[in-house]
Amino acid sequence: MSGTEQPSATRDLVSIKNLSKSFPLTKGFLEQLHFQGGRLVRKRESVKAINGVNLDVKRGEALCVVGESGCGKSTVARVVMGLLQPTAGSIEYDGQRIDNLPPDRLLPVRRKMQMIFQNPYASLNPRMTVQQTLEEPMRFHNPGIGNGELRDKVRTVMDSVGVDPSWTERFPHEFSGGQRQRISIARALMVDPEFIVADEPISALDVSIQAQVLNLMMDAMEQRSLTYLFITHDLSVVEHFGNRVAVMYLGALCELAETRTLFESPRHPYTRALISAIPKLTRERPSHIKLTGEVPTPINLPSGCFFHNRCVYANDRCKVEKPPLLQTDNGSQVACHGIEEGRID
């Protein structure tokens, strides 16, 4: 650890530093060979899912990460949780670098961070009862725990997520989607974590259930002073849930701002297009910003600013130079040459 250690209360709980992750496209050796200028060269391609993301999660906040499908938000969640190894960059938890720790030294950190998954139909083991599913993390992290204590703990947690504790001997297929997601949340809460990564926890649920589960997560946050990294593609959820929002495009951050600031005055051209796409119940004709073209493939990333080929404000500088994330006057951080130069207000 470095000498400039901050007191833990003000230190960021999780900091993601210059994180990159690429997935090699596995091809046979023969398929990797190409003729180029009369010579045989071996070309290996990869999907660049995250490209240099810097993100700090402050203690006690709910940081939402939004972006369209394939922009790398779930990959960020998985790398932070250690399910994937980063290609470059580092993850720090409470000042300690965790992405290169061996499994045994990672254990004390693991019990402080938990994850809630997207699909409640796949995230519970179909052959295990709720009791077994909930017991497992507790038993693993507290090897000496007694059966009675464990049972009490399961009951308390089941109660707190609003599932009848007398249903513990049932199997996941006996529950509805919303109930399963509650059980999934209960599993994450079993070890009393301080940091929870939620990877689109409500996108697989019925709209009427989404609000309940969101409220449950907010209550848990208040009661247990949790910190969330909340991955979603649903901007209307972000508006009600997070303290801060990070907008991702093609594996890089475009904008990072307080939730209210972002919704009131989005700065980055991509964020503006996103916000304008939220359906509204108003009389006036909605003024959608229509983006042209498609999201470029993450196999061959565009040069310069990743957004330049769809951006109406793009100039020559945007095509060659990648914009850094810079602080602006209203407190939000934006990665855009246009904002930096004052071309865009």
């Binding site: 998985r78 949780m81 250690g82 399910l83 499994p103 990672l106 254990l107 693991r110 019990r111 961070m113 938990q114 994850m115 998954f117 997207q118 699909n119 796949a122 995230s123 519970l124 083991n125 179909p126 052959r127 295990m128 497992e136 993390p137 693993f140 992290h141 001997e169 199997f171 297929h173 999934s184 599993r187 070890v191």
Partner: protein
Amino acid sequence: MIRYWQLFKESAFLYRFRRDKVAIASFSVLMLLVSLSFLAPLIAPFDPYDPAGIDIMDSDIPPSWQEEGDPRFSLGTDAQGRDMLSTMLYGTRISITIGLFAVLLQLFLGIALGLAAGYFGGRIDSFLMRLADIQLSFSTLMVAIVVLAIFQASFGTELYNDLAIFMLILVIGIAEWPQYARTVRASVLAEKKKEYVDAVRVIGLGSGRIMFRHILPNTLSPILVISTVQVANAIMSEAALSFLGLGMPVNKPSLGSLINSGFEYILSGSWWITTFPALVLILLVLVINLLGDWLRDVLNPKLYKD
């Protein structure tokens, strides 16, 4: 325990079993054959393993309903004077034992290697699956014939006769593990992508625990289905080997060696020595296969979920 019994009683599995006449009939016949053969020492009228109880003068007696039949030997006797009914009961016991243990060995090898290949992937996967391909490219019988013949030639028939049952289990077990390994690997590949596996990895569980406690139980249905078919296959392989003279010795005959020993006399009119064991073998393999088919239909996820 009571709860699991209750669950079983209410399960769709039992419901569908009770509605399927073929399944009920196959299951009853199988249970009858298994219990008769394993109770052989109690119910068989003679002990075919006891040389003192065999009289060479009783040889080649036809079944009791025929003219020259002897009421002591209801299904007749073989060329050595052994009672066919007793010998068949003992023989069925040996056949079923070899089938079951050979499949257990296949299960053990196949699950261990298939899980490792599917879960770790990469080079381990390529290596194990190429090994399986090589193994599958030799037919079971060919491997078995070579191994058993070499064993007999190098260690003598005496020792072989003592160890025949273990050798058969070993050879049939090892020759067929790729069937399991491939099935298990395929299911593991599908299961390990599911989020519940990520959820336990987030907890920090080691790969061994994840493989055996979480992934393996979810791959059991295909394993169960191929197990039934594999038991039938193993019994068939054993019978084929015994028929070729490489299986069970004549003094401890399995169904296959009984068929073989009677084959020499079939043209001289002693049809019963070959026919009765052959009928039992066909019946045994048939009901196991029918049960396997039924099981495959019941456990098919397209027809029935969870």
